[in-house]
Symmetry: C3
């Protein structure tokens, strides 16, 4: 795991369950920074349910955003950001899921991502899901995903200056 | 989502996972108010497992309670309450589940419920489940339920004066 | 449920989801106490996945630990501890699962365990899983396990002096 960031790190992790208001809250935090705002989307519109979700998120954000699609090369997208820019990265669990479907080396990818996030060059806000508080999943792939997502959340939380847990749309400060 | 309630709202949301002590804690909060106490139950005893749960809850509550069954018409039951009465509404997720099984218009129902809860006429305590912190469910109905429950929790939390997250029987103040 | 412990109880419960950093955090708390340290393991290496997990935990702990295996007789193992010894019990949910597979009387076992934990004879740290924040499981056995785990967590939290909820590797103080 990377060294813990200095308390003053400009990286914020917003973590929570499904429909806990993570994206909306993270958006409001970005919009409290001066524009222009950058949105790095990891979602892939591979079915109707996902297309609908993406459209809903886009409609809620409104204008003033530059959108970058980075379903796999999130490290590259972050590397190309100009200094000082407020950024919303939404979300880590979809990015991880894309990498698992593409059969990449998950451990190496997660280390690389945590490394680039440990040196934020502006107010960066990262959204991620908590997926480990239900019953142990029946199938091995779901268990592997759950383990990898939990480890990734720990790695990113370790280098973040602020960590918020969303509960019913409300932020609970963890760090 | 309704406007946020004034900080002084007398509505309390008690949210938590299965067997996290939500109902017992909410009951203790109601019993700290002067009797008589009203219990609005949304559970339907459609199988033995549910019948047993209802009986256990009833036995624990003990005397001094008026019980109103409102598996579907929760808005009507709340509308009929006398002013100033301490009330326990247990729970929102079962009510939502009943409406989904009855194939009602979930969005309209949830908006209506959040609206009536935004004007509490006494110390009202609402119990609800957190269901979004596990792995993404396999089946589409479970995903729809999870999404609807998360949105409803956000709507009610937004109009509540107090929100408590239960962890192993202990309340964690979120709002 | 046993009477609540005095605030000064030396029992600490570390609860959290899968891969939330529970064991690593609890180990760091034990290692902040003077050696020797005792590790009471409830895991049984019945398949490759579990064997790998056990090996990983063991490698991370490093030297200086005495390990006691107690997949079922956790009460006996705790009873045999010398006074004043820092102890890590990892974890309650596996212990519970072992008892369910062995078809023991779960309620009696949990009562017995909570009772012995209510009188800690040293700085004792107990790790347990939150498993109740996902969607209701399809199968009845998983629901029974979820209910029993939630009740056990409540019983142990009630007698603990400190309860920590792990979120992405970070402790959130609940009690």
């Amino acid at each position: 795991m990377p060294d813990r960031a200095a308390p003053g790190s400009k990286l914020t992790l917003v973590i929570g369950g499904a429909r806990s208001g993570k994206s909306a809250h993270a958006e409001s935090l970005v919009k409290a920074c001066p524009a222009p705002w950058t949105y790095i989307a990891t979602a892939q519109a591979y079915d109707d349910e996902m297309r609908e979700r993406i459209a809903l998120h886009r409609a809620r954000r409104g204008g003033g955003w530059t959108t970058i699609d980075a379903p796999l090369d999130l490290v590259g997208a972050i590397g190309g950001l100009p200094d000082g820019r407020p950024v919303l990265i939404d979300c880590l669990t979809l990015w991880l899921s894309n990498h698992m479907l593409a059969e990449r080396d998950i451990e190496a990818e997660c280390r690389g991502l945590a490394d680039v996030l440990s040196r934020p060059r502006g107010p960066w806000f990262v959204v991620s899901n908590e997926v480990g508080q239900g019953i142990v999943p029946d199938n091995a792939l779901a268990r592997r995903f759950r383990d990898a997502a939990g480890r990734l959340n720990q790695q990113v939380a370790a280098v973040a200056g602020t960590v918020l847990l969303m509960v019913a749309g409300l932020p609970l400060k963890v760090k």
